[in-house]
């Protein structure tokens, strides 16, 4: 009985995930992209020297540094990765 209930819960969770992927996942990705682009801009202005674009005086960069340390690795990957024409904002919404 317990095994049956667990199986049912598992199936329900899979169906929930499937519907989420079908209907809402592109909303999530869009929100994440929007947040990432604002964050990227902020980090570029404040810590641009980390990728060769010094914009702010180092004093302010150093003051901000402790707060943004967790985001730096992902930001550098986002900024320095080669982008493709296929990576447009509508790619996630397009259907075949």
């Amino acid at each position: 009985m317990v095994g049956g209930e667990r199986g049912l819960t598992q199936t329900m969770s899979r169906v929930k995930d499937f519907i989420y992927g079908l209907l809402f996942y592109d909303f999530t990705l869009y929100a994440l992209r929007t947040r990432a682009s604002i964050e990227s801009l902020f980090l570029l202005v404040t810590l641009g020297d980390l990728i060769g674009l010094p914009i702010m005086p180092p004093y302010y960069s150093l003051r901000i540094l402790p707060y943004v340390v967790p985001n730096i690795a992902a930001w550098k990957r986002r900024m320095l990765r080669e982008k493709d024409l296929l990576e447009t904002d509508v790619m996630g919404m397009m259907s075949g």
């Binding site: 209907l23 990576e87 075949g96």
Partner: protein, 595 residues
């Protein structure tokens, strides 16, 4: 034949193909390893590279590959050659070609740091193959815009449809406002926007509404004394016997309506219009398809007369009329593009899903599972058009789905109106995104040489002008088959890359190489046949006639596109052969395979 047997055949293909072929390739050749780090884990950036569960990705991948393609292709092919060739290609195509491409492209990208297909082409084949692939992509977008624009303008002249589609646009704007500006709950937004759209769609068949739209169309046509602007020979007219289609003012008006709808999608911020329209449209489509599928399954037991196929199983080997050609080989294989195999899937699989795989072992259920599921959608569309028996294309599909929905007590008149509206919604939501994509592609390609193309409105209007030019100069079937040609060539190129990747890793590449060769030869042949059809069916009859200058110009343009596609495919094929020979000679000389 009836719907129940067709469903059983579809489900059995899914089970057997997935369990006994796809799983075997995954275990024996690709050897997916749950312990291997995926790009999502190695290069996590919180956005594009971010691990997601296999169930979420299955839903996401299915949504990205299954929309208008599997429906339009299946109903067009069934009308031309009968339901049997269409069904056979759907089940054999997906089993031996379709999932192979989707899954293998996904695994190839996952094993190559999440590279896109054009980046892989650059590295594995030659620098110019990347450029060729991007030209393919642009032509693919242009042709899909042309085919869908033609289809939509034709269907929108039906008086039951325009009101619902206008409501969809308004519901999209309202949805964006409610969700992002008023920060309302998604459930409330869904109930209000989807409910309103469904309500207005239901008003479509009401006599007063129909009369008003008919009157409006009549008034438009009277502007040109009810005379056609041009008449085009359409081999699919008059129940596929061939006949002339009149392009009147009302047709041009509804085409402009489609252009305005798409302009909003391309020019407004994504959250404001494109995304909510897509969301509302998806609900309408999902409800109709789900209802139709359930109705088809139980029709056999409840109303067997609705479950029997009325369309002939097989019509002719060559469905061409009056000097045009439609031989089963190669034309069936480009007419049914999605549903059996589609190049679009390789793009989605590489730049989208492959970068979000949590484990390598998820690629099989996500990539192959979604493709087999899409085949079922194609089978459903085929069933709908087969039980309807009469009518052409979208109208036959709507009649069939209307019959299935009538099992639940819905008046077939309203069921058909809902199905036709859902069909238009599927197509028009893709259309607006295609125009947005074209605008971005134009900016990327021409922005440096022509800075004015970077302007959002100039880019969008240029894309729409291209769409207009193509739509007004061709009949749907040629546009669709040319689009299918571009799409299937992209698929064979994706399979070519997979083959080269497998060879470079010294794995058995036969399971990808054989489908690649078949698709490559078939699609090149199909493009040449389409070029001939455009010459014999569009250009030649219009030469020297007054008012036909645009038709002739567009026909010649499409012939040029068909031949360009063939030429580019030959270039990339040659480069791939060179690359293959290089790899083989290196391997014979004992040089290590690249990591």
């Amino acid at each position: 034949m009836n719907t129940l047997i067709a469903l059983i055949v579809g489900a059995a293909t899914f089970y057997l193909g997935y369990s006994f072929y796809a799983k075997r390739i995954d275990e024996k050749i690709i050897k997916s390893d749950p312990k291997k780090a995926t790009p999502a884990k190695m290069y996590m950036d919180g956005v594009d590279f971010s691990p997601a569960s296999r169930n979420i990705l299955y839903g996401y991948q299915f949504k990205s590959i299954a929309a208008a393609g599997p429906i339009v292709g299946a109903i067009t092919a069934a009308g031309l050659w009968g339901w049997l060739p269409a069904l056979l290609w759907l089940i054999l195509g997906v089993t031996f070609v379709g999932w192979v491409q989707d899954y293998s492209a996904m695994m190839m990208a996952a094993r190559r740091d999440g590279d896109s297909i054009s980046a892989i082409a650059y590295k594995l084949v030659s620098p110019r193959s990347r450029t060729i692939l991007l030209i393919f992509l642009f032509l693919y977008l242009l042709l899909i815009a042309g085919a869908f624009g033609n289809l939509l303008a034709g269907v929108l002249t039906n008086p039951t449809i325009p009101l619902g589609i206008t409501m969809l646009a308004l519901a999209g704007l309202l949805g964006g406002q409610m969700l992002y500006r008023w920060k309302m709950d998604i459930a409330v937004v869904t109930i209000v926007t989807v409910g309103l759209t469904l309500l207005v769609i239901a008003l479509g068949p009401v006599a007063a509404v129909q009369g008003a739209v008919k009157g409006f169309n009549g008034w438009l046509d009277a502007l040109n004394a009810n005379q056609p602007i041009v008449s085009l020979f359409d081999p699919t007219a008059a129940a596929y016997a061939g006949g002339f289609v009149n392009i009147k003012v009302s047709y041009v008006f509804w085409l402009t309506f489609v252009a305005v709808f798409s302009y909003l999608g391309a020019a407004l911020p994504v959250w404001r219009y494109a995304q909510p329209v897509n969301y509302v449209g998806f609900w309408i489509m999902a409800l109709t398809i789900l209802g139709g599928a359930l109705g088809a399954a139980i029709a056999f037991f409840v109303k067997p007369e609705l479950a029997n196929f009325a369309l002939p199983a097989f019509k002719v080997w060559d469905a061409g009329v009056k000097g045009t050609l439609q031989p089963l080989w190669p034309m069936l294989f480009v007419t049914i593009a999605c549903g059996a195999i589609s190049g679009w899937h390789a793009l989605v699989s590489t730049v989208g899903t492959a970068r979000q795989l949590e484990n390598e072992t998820d690629a099989l259920p996500v990539g192959a599972g979604s493709m087999f599921s899409e085949m079922l959608l194609g089978v459903l569309a085929l069933m709908a058009v087969s039980v309807a028996g009469k009518g052409v294309g979208a109208a036959a599909f709507a009649t069939g789905v209307g019959n299935f929905l009538s099992i639940f007590g819905l008046d077939p008149k309203y069921g058909s109106a809902l199905a036709l509206a859902a069909f238009v919604i599927i197509v028009i939501t893709v259309m607006q995104l295609v125009i947005r994509f074209m605008r971005v592609a134009l900016t990327e390609a021409l922005g440096d040489a022509m800075p004015i193309m970077r302007n959002l409105h100039v880019g969008t209007i240029t894309s729409l002008v291209c769409m207009f030019l193509v739509v007004l100069t061709g009949t749907f079937v040629y546009l669709w088959q040319l689009f299918g040609g571009a799409n299937q060539l992209m698929a064979s190129l994706a399979l070519m890359l997979v083959t080269l990747w497998l060879v470079s890793e010294r794995r058995n590449a036969l399971y990808a190489a054989l489908p690649m060769l078949f698709m490559y030869v078939t699609t090149i042949a199909a493009n040449l046949v389409t070029a001939w059809n455009l010459w014999a069916g569009v250009v030649q009859p219009g030469l020297g006639k007054a008012n036909y200058e645009v038709v002739v110009f567009g026909g010649l343009l499409m012939i040029a596109i068909a031949l360009l596609l063939v030429l580019l495919a030959l270039f990339i094929g040659w480069d791939a052969w060179q690359s293959y020979s290089r790899m083989k000679s290196q391997q014979r000389a004992g040089v290590e395979a690249p990591a």
